[in-house]
Symmetry: C2
Subunit: 275 residues, 2 copies
Amino acid sequence: MRIKIASHSGFCFGVKRAINIAERTLKESRHTNNTYSLGSIIHNPQVVGDLSKKGLKVISGINNIKKGAVIISSHGATIEVIEKIKKKRLDLIDATCPFVKNVHNIVRDLKSSGYRIVIIGDKKHPEVKALLGLVGREAKSNKIAVISQTTQSKDNYLKGVAGLLKKDFSELRIFNTICNDTAHRQALTRDLLKECDVMVVVGGKNSANTRRLWHICKERGVDSYHIETDAELKEEYFRRKGCAGVVSGASTPDELVKKVVKKIKELNLKRKRGK
Amino acid sequence: MRIKIASHSGFCFGVKRAINIAERTLKESRHTNNTYSLGSIIHNPQVVGDLSKKGLKVISGINNIKKGAVIISSHGATIEVIEKIKKKRLDLIDATCPFVKNVHNIVRDLKSSGYRIVIIGDKKHPEVKALLGLVGREAKSNKIAVISQTTQSKDNYLKGVAGLLKKDFSELRIFNTICNDTAHRQALTRDLLKECDVMVVVGGKNSANTRRLWHICKERGVDSYHIETDAELKEEYFRRKGCAGVVSGASTPDELVKKVVKKIKELNLKRKRGK
């Protein structure tokens, strides 16, 4: 069995930046024992686990926090939460991805220009929650603007847009807010799908962009496994397969991908010997 | 055979306005023998013929005009032509439809904001020619804006938009610049097509919105005839038909439609007697 690894892997710009910000904050003596991250700073449990060992405390709200630094995750946070942090005079450390911030700015502009704003994304994801907070009450307008979660697939986005095209509008403004890194990994995944008959998608189970890669694989009807670490791999995944593709999400460390590839090779060898 | 007439007919707002402007200008003594229209003021040869009898002279260019009033047709004119009229110190009478003017304003705004502007319409139509003049040289931009000729059908427009959605863009801005009167007549035509097995479309052969109605009929595979006057009707059009639908364009006078209906009734009666 051949093994094909996507030519692009490792942290994306926004994830790398968020981890750097967290590590820098943890090193500052005044924050010792008081560095918090509001939700997972990035959606990879292994990386978050490592940061926790270094002292980062993941919290779901700031009600019980009295002092220290609160890091906004790479996905951003709602205005309400940010205001609350400021009001409590906690140190606000913003690790929101700059590409996500850019979408915030687009939403602000659209809102002040009277557009009805439609978001195509996962309602429960922190990125979308923060956007919904910015959008506020739905405006009644025949000028419609549509934005997507930065980790959406273009196909999925265009499906949503197709629905809006049927509506009555004086103007429909479509922003391509899918980030380049996401689009790139999706394109590489589609390429591998042309050659491979089994796909391994490495990344946090809570990672939207990783899950999206997995969905793209499943939509093509190819056997696909979304795993966080090599420990989840099973020999049977590769039985009677000619080519295994390995792709990973934007918050997946390169070492985890390397371990996964090593394990696939071992399982492959073991099976060969077994024959 | 039943005869069904579209519930909306007669001149649209822009056509009515243009005809009024022409008649008013013709009445002004200082313009006697010197009232010109740059191209057909509206796309109905019968109406233009009537205005010609009242003294309106249709010209294709102003090179040979030395004095008098030049009326810009309801479809608008290029900036170059307008500048030329001003330079020659002729009286400029603007009969451009306000809804078309609105599209001009949209194009100006988009151009100054750096959008690449796509027009979906008939390149040779004066409305589109004027718009192309405003657009000027194609801008290199990944912000795309798309507008349609005001007399386009929404189906056709959306087909063009679907092509643009496949392109790489940071933003795609779709303006619904199809005028209400056009949309209304198209909707009524589609309604009649559900009941009728022969359609008569009344209006200038050079009228874009009338031709569009005829195309909608043909696309449905229903026998359809685009005529300017009742003189063009033939008995055979209605042979073995259960229901004839009559629709008309935005520049078709109501009297012409009434004459067409009268003639269809006569042909119908004649055929019945012949049986």
